[in-house]
């Protein structure tokens, strides 16, 4: 996280919401070039204050979740 370079507390993810483009406001869609049929991720991080970041998903709606699992140590973990 870039804020750690300035000795700021590391940002933590508060929530992630996967939505279709048609659920976003016209302002966000227009500004970010997201089409109604696209999927987008709204990621809210909190350092202070909380900040939403909207990105268009290039892959499937679950692609971010799968990437997060691949980046973790839990690939292959099994809940009993």
């Amino acid at each position: 996280m870039e804020n750690t370079e300035n000795n700021m507390p590391e940002e933590k993810v508060v929530s992630i919401k996967i939505v279709k483009g048609n659920q976003l406001s016209e302002t966000v869609k227009g500004n970010l070039g997201i089409k109604s049929e696209d999927f987008a991720e709204i990621r809210v991080t909190r350092n202070s204050p909380a900040k939403p970041n909207v990105t268009r998903l290039e892959g499937s709606p679950s692609s971010g979740f799968v990437s997060a699992i691949d980046s973790s140590s839990l690939r292959g973990f099994h809940f009993e």
Partner: protein, 150 residues
């Protein structure tokens, strides 16, 4: 009718997502994609004990994004049935009976639970069920496989 369908799951869907087996992983991903495609099917209900167990494990990782993704797709049943105080089978049955009052179709997704008289669907059968939906298949093809417009 299928738009109002509600799903309940135990740990099976998450275990498939975490699996190193490509086919298992794909089955779980297809299910999550289906939930995103059908807006009112957005979340999978899960018993309070399983929700807590999985969320706490995910929260131990990195910047908490795993737990946040988990909460995007999974709904803690605690608001419907309260704190877990019985067995997983009994809590799942309570969730089913509660959700059945508001939805014409409720499915329980599990490879392990056996609940007499309730519709428990294995991941294999869920995969077949989803792939049998023409509209969803068309969406998957047009979104991920169709290169005719390129």
């Amino acid at each position: 009718m299928e738009d109002r369908c509600i799903f309940i799951a135990d740990k099976t869907v998450v275990n498939y997502l975490l699996s190193e087996d490509h086919e298992e992983k794909q089955k779980a991903e297809l299910f999550l994609d289906y939930l995103s495609w059908r807006r009112c099917n957005k979340k999978i209900y899960i018993t309070p004990a399983n929700f807590k167990l999985i969320k706490e494990k995910f929260e131990q990782e990195d910047d908490k994004s795993l737990a946040a993704y988990f909460e995007n797709w999974f709904e803690n049943g605690i608001e419907l049935i309260g704190e877990d105080s019985t067995t997983e089978e009994e809590d799942t049955r309570s969730l089913y009976e509660t959700l059945e009052t508001i939805s014409p179709t409720v499915f329980i997704i599990s490879d392990e639970l056996e609940l007499e008289g309730l519709p428990v669907m294995s991941m294999e059968n869920l995969d077949t069920y989803l792939k049998d939906k023409p509209d969803f298949n068309k969406h998957i093809f047009l979104t991920y496989y169709d290169t005719s417009g390129v």
